[in-house]
């Protein structure tokens, strides 16, 4: 075991950087390929979502694909995003034909600038952004140890997608 503390200890040595932590783990295509066998077709579904009925925040717009092999539906694939107090997580969920979760992968994790979060402004910077847009990220930050990252919002997001499946998608012919 070897450790080197890069900050000299002492009064005043507090905040080193106000940089944002972000990791891109997978692309949507990679997540689709990992979740379903080769030769599967991903057919976009334009689901009309009554967000209030599903207890979802207004403006919630997950992307939905019906996964087919030949003419048979073999599952469902979703891309969704959740926003927490200081993080934005995009993730992919795959269900089999009976609605059972077969995979859940984080696609991208982005964090705000240090402790300097002003919620509205920070949220706005994500509006309409894709993974390719730079949001003043510090690519050098690969690992964070500290305040535990919560996955509560992610868990809630998955729950909403399962509701969407049950009440909207599974009901479709």
């Amino acid at each position: 075991m070897q450790v080197r503390w890069l900050l000299s200890a002492g009064v005043g040595a507090t905040v080193v950087a106000q940089a944002a932590y972000a990791v891109q783990y997978m692309t949507v295509e990679q997540a689709q390929q990992a979740a379903f066998a080769q030769g599967s077709r991903f057919v976009p579904v334009a689901a009309t979502i009554d967000t209030s009925a599903l207890g979802a925040p207004s403006g919630w717009m997950p992307l939905v694909w019906r996964v087919q092999r030949d003419a048979e539906t073999i599952g469902w694939f979703f891309e969704d995003a959740v926003i927490g107090k200081s993080e934005l997580i995009t993730y992919a969920l795959a269900l089999d034909a009976s609605g059972k979760v077969t995979s859940l992968e984080v696609l991208e994790y982005r964090e705000s600038h240090g402790g300097e979060v002003r919620l509205a402004g920070w949220r706005n910077q994500f509006t309409g952004k894709t993974a390719a847009d730079a949001v003043a990220l510090d690519r050098d930050i690969r690992n964070i140890s500290g305040a535990t990252l919560s996955c509560r919002h992610l868990t809630e997001g998955v729950h909403r997608l399962l509701q969407l499946y049950t009440h909207v998608l599974a009901a479709k012919p």
Partner: protein, 277 residues
């Protein structure tokens, strides 16, 4: 040769697993197996769920020997070692007090826990059996995450990975020849320091409020952040709670586990706990 990195939600946080220098199909297989192991630890040691090993202990007659998974036995064994070394500053048996404060949900249990029970009332007759001498609730929240990280590293190695890094919400372990730069957060969420780590683990406990000394039940000093570096993540994880509770008095305990600690207070910045001479 590439770097393959994946993240999935487990243990109430995001678990991030990275393998470097391995062909990607093999790396993905190793990472999948490591996540399966993390999921197993999650299921066995969950305080909330009704079918974990802990739930079975909380629903057994006091004094009977309960069979648990070897992993649960191993974590309990280490939890008791840290509890003994810290004279109960770290105590996995005080979950009832946390439930009373609302820090943990009320578990399904057939008994009312004894307020005077402690880690001394947990007996481990062999690696896969546990006996509670008094009615008590066990919470492994302060150590199981670190253990899951250690297990993930072991599974990655068993699948041929050499250079790997696993991070479960700040409980992080690095293996192989990697030298990882880790940014450490302070209690308010700002990035407060950096360290370079190889072949070892770091865990950080922030503490705005909740942590309590297992023995005295006093709340730790607010707005303090503790990072502990140790060979195993499980030990680093548990020792952060000892330092939070005991401050400088934790020095001897750290030395016993080949660990080092740094503390951060808003007023003083970072400081390494003095080593024992």
């Amino acid at each position: 040769m590439s770097s393959v990195r994946r993240a999935r939600p487990w243990l109430g946080t995001l678990v991030d697993i990275r393998v470097d220098g391995m062909e990607s199909t093999s790396a993905l297989r190793a990472i999948d197996a490591a996540f399966a192991e993390v999921a197993m630890v999650h299921r066995l040691m969950s305080f909330h769920s009704d079918d974990s090993d802990l739930a079975r202990l909380h629903n057994a007659r006091t004094g009977t020997c309960v069979r648990v998974n070897a992993r649960t036995g191993e974590v309990l064994d280490w939890a008791l070692r840290v509890a003994a070394a810290s004279d109960g500053a770290f105590d996995p048996a005080v979950a009832a007090a946390q439930v009373a404060r609302g820090a943990l949900p009320v578990p399904r249990s057939t008994f009312v826990p004894d307020a005077d029970a402690s880690w001394r009332d947990i007996e481990l007759p062999g690696g896969e059996h546990v006996r509670l001498r008094r009615p008590l609730w066990i919470d492994l929240g302060g150590i199981a995450k670190g253990y899951a990280v250690d297990r993930a590293i072991e599974v990655l190695r068993a699948h041929g990975a050499i250079d790997a890094c696993v991070n479960a919400g700040g409980d992080l372990r690095v293996a192989g020849a990697l030298v990882e730069r880790v940014h450490v957060r302070d209690a308010r969420g700002g990035i407060a320091a950096e360290l370079e780590l190889s072949d070892g683990a770091v865990a950080t406990s922030g503490c705005a409020s909740a942590h309590r000394d297992g023995a005295s039940r006093r709340a730790a000093e607010p707005e303090i952040t503790v990072s502990v570096v140790a060979p195993r993540c499980m030990v680093a994880d548990a020792l952060t709670k000892v330092v939070l509770a005991r401050g400088d008095a934790a020095r001897a305990v750290l030395a016993g586990f080949a660990a080092q600690a740094w503390t951060h207070r808003a007023a003083h910045g970072w400081r390494q706990l003095d080593r024992v001479a």
